[in-house]
Amino acid sequence: MNLLPLLAGYRPFLDPIELHGLWWLLLIPLALGVAVVYKAVRLPDDAFESPRPPGTPGYARSVLVMTGQIVLAMALLALGAFVVVEVYQPWLAR
């Protein structure tokens, strides 16, 4: 994919980015942002100590795991919605 035409004349914050065809990829940074803040609030104090007590999950690992969980859950929800709208509803209408 040639990005040069997209980047030419692009002004950050003044122009929106042109990702209309790949908008679903933006779920990943959204999930990452939510996980960063949520784990910062919910993890015990041990997770932020240096060095960490043995057996304590670190902050970075917890964030990555939660990000993966969110992305997987949203993908499964999308699949479920697809099945209901494209398969089950037409079958009911027949």
Partner: protein, 209 residues
């Protein structure tokens, strides 16, 4: 790690090294600081690493939303309901909206037909630019409520020259939706942080080795 000032070990179990939760004190100053700047409440309470992570997450979501959809995503006049969520990030979002309203929005070209100051400031509304418009300043000869002549310089949109980009590109479709969503989610996550800072309690600690 030494005990923080707010730690209240009520009914401590020395064998397990656990603190039982007592009555969490309400800390309004920490809540206010958490609203003023993401993470400042936790920083004030001594949780510096948590504060840095909160700031990185909330501000990262806000900046990402503005990069995706542009400054157009934060608009208290055109999208008031979304703005209520975005405003929870604090003065950062309020400042971005003020910038958007004051610096990038302008009046319709038809404002040059106005006769009185009220025709401009009361009956006209600033709007975002169209793809072929640029912002410029025009000085209008008007009359005030008493009929006295007044000169008023106002921002007005005019057609852009060939090849000239608009002052601010209005985002549409998915990019506008996602930019608005990112910034609103940042506000809601900051609300969680504000509540957490207001009633912060010591997290469970493991028994020392």
């Amino acid at each position: 790690m030494s005990a923080l000032p707010h730690d209240r070990p009520v009914g401590t179990d020395p064998a397990a090294g656990l603190y039982k939760r007592g009555r969490e004190p309400f800390q309004p100053l920490a809540a206010v600081l958490a609203f003023v700047f993401p993470g400042a409440g936790h920083f004030f309470l001594g949780h510096r690493r948590r504060a840095c992570c909160i700031a990185a997450g909330v501000l990262g979501l806000t900046a990402s939303g503005l990069l995706i959809g542009g400054l157009d995503c934060i608009d208290r006049k055109d999208d008031p309901i979304w703005f209520y969520g975005q405003a929870l990030v604090g003065p950062v979002t309020l400042g971005v909206d003020a910038l958007h309203q004051r610096v990038f929005k302008a009046y319709d070209p038809g404002v040059i037909l106005a006769r009185t100051v009220d025709d401009v400031l009361v009956r006209q509304v600033r709007r975002s630019p169209r793809p072929d418009e640029v912002r410029t300043n025009k000085t209008l000869d008007l009359r005030d409520a008493e009929g006295r002549p007044v000169q008023l310089t106002v921002p007005v949109f005019e057609l852009a020259a060939p090849g000239q980009k608009p002052t601010l590109s209005q985002s549409l479709g998915r990019m506008n939706e996602l930019g608005t969503l990112f910034t609103a989610v940042a506000g809601m996550m900051n609300l969680i942080c504000i509540v957490d800072a207001a009633w912060l309690h010591p997290r469970r600690r493991r028994a020392p080795a």
